[in-house]
């Protein structure tokens, strides 16, 4: 708890500084990552982040120490090489995209490992600092490094915000952008450079192996909450920042613990919550709305059977007769009956279940939609009368009043459906 207060009260100016750095850095990466996620290129980020390892090692070898300029420079060079190679291979060989990405990723990483072991054998005491790049160590970032990384993040955030329109075109409709005269290839180049930059700065905190998560997961999670690009970007940034700070805090409390894995676990947890509980797109929400819909259709069917019974001259049906109509749906049928009784669409008169006035209107509407659709299929689509029932069985729950009006109009208010059954209307009884 003491650690918690110490950390989050920012008494220590260097902690405040690091948290600020992580915040900017997380926003930058999430920002770029969301665009590449929308562009269906999520794994390109993974390839780039594995590929910067040899560049980092080369930068280290050239500088002989952990100099941020050399390291960022090396990382940019090898990240660009990997990006270029990926697109070159894609247009010049018959390999599929995922093979290409996996090949580039693992080869560059292999090369990085070779260089890393070479550096290890040289016995350079700064070697320990290099290991941070693999799994990340936010606490270990030095203040002067932070200026470089923070500055780069700001450049990324600014250029993405200023060129928002261009990048949206790139992601959503490249062909359209080209048609109205935007230099799409140049925009893609700029975007790739921004992606490489964001990887280069992100690996400080999260490491090359897990950097992909910082690019992919915030966007994927935020996508569940909104359809608007601006909200999406803000949410993704927020997720990244929360996870970044959590990871930093944990490696502050447990100094041996790398930051990256904790950032990823926290991000994935946020993503899981989004997948499960987000309104509209979440699994739970979709499950509930599907169940609601199934119950509604079953109620419609019960009403319909009762209406058909009245057409045959009966006043109503008793419970067992209704249950026997839906042999494998006993629970649903009982549920529907009690729901409809409660909402006064049915009356239970001494064991005989009858339609009430409002129930009768509703039942009529469903039967009418069913038979109208059958007539439409028969007349306009030339489908034989014995083939139209199944489609109507589905559409009767979906046709809106506007559509009903249109159908009625087209069919010139028919009296009979293809099976020569009456199409019931609200004022028939009069």
């Amino acid at each position: 708890m003491e650690d918690f207060l110490y950390f989050f009260s920012f008494q220590d100016s260097s902690i405040a500084f690091i948290v600020l750095g992580i915040t900017i850095l997380g926003i930058g990466s999430a920002y770029v990552g969301t665009f590449s996620f929308l562009d269906n290129k999520a794994l390109l980020g993974d390839a780039i982040s594995h590929s910067v390892l040899p560049g980092i090692c080369l930068g280290f070898l050239l500088a002989g120490e952990k100099n941020p300029y050399y390291i960022v420079g090396g990382a940019i060079v090898s990240g660009s090489a990997a990006t270029f190679l990926t697109s070159w291979l894609k247009s010049n060989t018959k390999l599929s995209e995922d093979s290409i990405i996996a090949t580039v990723l693992s080869t560059f990483f292999g090369l990085g490992i070779v260089l890393l072991t070479v550096i290890q054998k040289t016995g350079n005491p700064e070697m320990a600092g290099l290991n941070q790049f693999i799994f990340g160590n936010a606490i270990g970032i030095l203040e002067e490094d932070l200026w470089v990384y923070g500055g780069l993040s700001l450049i990324i955030i600014l250029s993405l915000s200023l060129l928002m329109k261009e990048f949206s075109l790139l992601v959503f409709n490249q062909e359209f952008g080209r048609a109205i005269g935007y230099p799409m290839d140049f925009i893609r180049l700029v975007f790739n450079i921004l992606m490489i930059l964001s990887v280069v700065i992100g690996i400080q905190a999260i490491g090359v192996v897990l950097m992909a998560a910082l690019l992919i997961t915030p966007g994927a999670a935020a996508r569940f909450w909104t359809d608007r690009l601006s909200t999406l970007l803000i949410l993704a940034g927020l997720f990244a920042v929360i996870s970044g700070i959590t990871g930093t805090y944990i490696s502050f409390v447990l100094p041996k613990m790398p930051t990256g894995p904790w950032v990823v676990v926290c991000l994935s947890f946020l993503a899981l919550i989004s997948f499960l509980f987000a309104p509209k797109k979440g699994i739970l929400f979709r499950y509930i709305s599907r169940r609601k819909y199934l119950r509604k259709t079953h109620r419609d069917h019960v009403l319909k059977s009762l209406f058909k019974a009245t057409e045959e001259g009966k006043k109503g049906l008793n419970k067992n007769e209704l249950l026997s109509l839906y042999p494998h749906h006993k629970k649903e049928t009982l549920g529907s009956i009690s729901y409809l009784l409660k909402h006064n669409q049915l009356n239970n008169i001494q064991g005989l279940i009858e339609l009430s006035e409002s129930g009768r209107t509703e039942a009529k509407r469903i039967v009418r939609l069913h038979r109208l659709w059958e007539s439409y299929l028969n007349e306009y689509m030339n489908i034989a009368p014995d083939h139209v029932h199944d489609s109507a069985e589905k559409l009767e729950h979906l046709i809106t009043p506007e559509l009903e009006e249109l159908l009625d109009n087209r069919l010139r208010y028919p009296k009979l459906d293809p099976h020569q059954e009456n199409i019931p209307r609200d004022h028939d009884d009069i």
Binding site: S96, S99, T103, T107, F109, G110, V209, A212, P261
Partner: protein, 299 residues
């Protein structure tokens, strides 16, 4: 010192066996456009290895293999779940799944560091160079030779017989899953079996080449072979050849540069791939004049 002694022979043959096992599976992964899933599995088995290690107390336990196998299958199930139930696009599902599982693995290694003799570096590049001193000693004290070599041999036999026995089924479901289903081949089961073999191979090769470089051996030799041929039998033969070639070259280059053998194998593989890609690329063919006029016109 670049001699061919017993250690060199052991290391090269073990590396070749691992490369061949990975390559054989990799061919089918590539044909199914599942190379990145292979990548995901090889990252995702890490927590299984750590937990198995923790339970059994040794790297040699069956628990390690079971744990890794379960995690590999779990990874494919999570990817499927995210894609089908949560409707996340495939590449993002892969990215989310493997980063999460790998992160959990790294955290477990750090938390259990006092108990588990695994470190992050072992995860990264394995220790094939120490293979000759890691001996399999039977209960009666008789030394049977390097443990990892035996593991690789067993793995190769299993993978080999898996491919040999299910060759027709694998081929059919790789090229045309729908047709395979019509022929009565349980495509889902075949797929799961392939994934289990990939997980098992990852674990078995983990000691030698590390979790991440297994991916390279899964992906790079088949991709290189695919540049040269489309016929599945020659694809497999070429993959095996490349696997052996990069093991030999990788060993000696690593010796020369005094660096990680597994990393060097992958680097050599990447170089071979790159050269092949340039040689077989459309532009290069055009310059050599081997392209037909029509194609030349188009490009």
């Amino acid at each position: 010192m670049m001699t061919f002694d017993q250690n060199a022979f052991l290391i090269i043959s073990t590396a070749s066996m691992i490369a061949i096992s990975c390559g054989l599976l990799g061919v089918f992964m590539m044909l199914r456009k599942m190379s990145m899933t292979g990548d995901a599995i090889s990252h995702a088995v890490l927590p299984g290895i750590v937990i198995g290690y923790f339970i059994s107390g040794s790297q040699r336990g069956v628990e390690v293999i079971i744990g890794a196998g379960l995690l590999g299958i779990l990874a494919t199930l999570i990817i499927d779940f995210l894609r089908k139930k949560a409707k996340v696009q495939l590449d993002a599902s892969i990215g989310i799944t493997f980063t999460l599982l790998f992160a959990i693995g790294i955290i477990l290694i750090n938390l259990l560091a006092y108990k588990v003799d695994l470190d992050q570096e072992c995860v990264l590049y394995g220790e094939i160079a120490y293979l000759p001193i890691d001996l399999w000693i039977t209960n009666s004290g008789f030394s049977m030779g390097p443990r990892i070599t035996w593991l690789a041999l067993l793995n190769l036999l299993l993978v080999g017989s898996f491919i040999f026995l299910l060759f027709k089924e694998l081929k059919l479901t790789s090229f045309d899953e729908g047709f395979g289903m019509v022929m009565g081949i349980p495509a889902g089961a075949i797929n799961l079996a392939l994934m289990s073999m990939v997980s098992y191979t990852t674990v078995s090769s983990f000691d030698a080449v590390g979790a991440i470089l297994v991916v390279a051996l899964l992906v790079v030799p088949p991709a290189t072979a695919f540049l040269w041929t489309k016929d599945i039998k020659s694809l497999i033969k070429l993959t095996i050849g490349i696997g052996i070639g990069i093991s030999v070259l990788g060993y000696y280059l690593a010796f020369w540069a005094d660096s990680s053998i597994a990393g060097m194998m992958v680097t050599v593989g990447g170089a071979v791939f790159l050269i092949s890609a340039v040689l077989t690329s459309k532009k290069f063919k055009f310059r050599l004049g081997t392209q037909s006029n029509q194609e030349a016109f188009n490009s």
